[in-house]
């Protein structure tokens, strides 16, 4: 695993060097933080707000960041905790039960049609399917399948054992398979990607 360059002496977050180092790390990793936030929230404004909140929290806790470990993973973990906190506070969204494999979602909208699928961007449908997953399943799928983290890395971000990552990932993928059935079949027939 690649370690962060520029090891900090163990100083508080208040010093100029710490601020400069924090800025450098944020600049290097803000895009992946935003991608994670966008996939979690499904909404550009909310994603930006979440990243901003996570950056402020990361800065306040920066003296506890261990130089030589991956800043991006640490930041994602803070971001995920903030996200979980938000979803608990505003429980506005309803998720589809994972056992409901009736493909309810996949029949809504023209994107279920493989012909249309060829021309459309995948982002909208994939995001809508992710939005319908319960957050902890969504997060496991995003970290592993979108961000390419290993089970162990994802487990550290989500604060759960790697075995839990695997089972959430698997159940999440099975639900997505049904909800994105038109795309999955098109892909398997070689009509996509």
């Amino acid at each position: 695993m690649e370690a962060e360059a520029g090891a900090l002496p163990s100083q508080g977050a208040g010093t100029e060097e710490a601020r400069a180092e924090f800025g450098r790390l944020v600049e290097a990793h803000w895009r992946s933080a935003y991608r994670f936030a966008y996939r979690l929230t499904g909404n550009p404004e909310e994603a930006a707000d979440l990243v901003q909140q996570a950056a402020e929290e990361a800065f306040r806790a920066f003296s506890r960041f261990r130089p030589g470990t991956r800043f991006d993973r640490w930041w994602l973990r803070i971001l995920y905790n903030s996200f979980v906190d938000r979803t608990r506070r505003h429980r506005r969204q309803s998720y589809l039960p994972l056992d409901d494999l009736s493909g309810k979602l996949s029949v809504t909208g023209s994107w279920a049609d493989p012909e249309a699928a060829l021309e459309q961007q995948l982002d909208g449908p994939v995001q809508r399917a992710l939005d319908a997953l319960p957050p902890e399943f969504r997060a496991a799928v995003i970290l592993v399948d979108v961000e390419g983290l290993s089970y162990e890395e994802a487990a550290r971000v989500l604060c759960c054992p790697p075995g839990t990552v695997r089972s959430r990932l698997h159940r999440g993928r099975l639900a997505l398979r049904e909800w994105l059935r038109g795309y999955v079949d098109a892909l398997r027939r070689g009509e996509l990607g």
Binding site: P44, E56, R64, S167, H170, L174
Partner: protein, 145 residues
């Protein structure tokens, strides 16, 4: 072997031990439905990797680089505790009033009264109050693993 369930995802991701992988492979050789699932799981993985999220607003980075300013603001320390004290007082008073409502026919009112009675006795154990207060209290930030 029974259907290997989430081992199938592990198999697709190449994260199984050699022993587990061999077991799954042996099962796949005999089980068309699990073979089907494996092909689907691969397709789902490719779909997710292929979908491109929109680029972030370029204005976001400068805002993030000012995160230290946001973090250094003497953020509501006093205001926060004032809010906590005010909320506690307010809810205690409100609870006390509700608990003295005349007996009503509605079950909801009775439950509310029961809740209020308990909340008045131990306001800091009150779940509703706790969740209200959680909006003001600082979030715990954990150390990196």
């Amino acid at each position: 072997m029974r259907h290997p369930q989430d081992l199938l995802s592990g198999y697709v991701d190449g994260t199984l031990s050699a022993h587990e992988a061999a077991e799954v492979a042996a099962h796949l050789a005999e089980c068309p439905s699990c073979r089907e699932t494996v092909s689907d799981l691969r397709a789902v993985r490719r779909l997710l990797a292929a979908a491109k999220p929109p680029d972030p607003d370029p204005e976001l980075l400068p805002r993030l680089l000012r995160a230290d300013l946001g973090a250094r603001r003497p953020r509501l320390q006093l205001g926060r505790w004032f809010a906590v004290a005010a909320a506690t007082a307010l809810l205690t008073v409100a609870s006390a009033r509700v608990s003295h409502l005349p007996p009503g026919s509605s079950r909801a009112v009775q439950e509310l009264r029961e809740h209020a009675r308990l909340a008045t006795r131990t306001p800091l154990n009150d779940l509703g109050l706790a969740s209200f207060l959680s909006a003001f209290l600082p979030d715990p930030v954990e150390d990196n693993p």
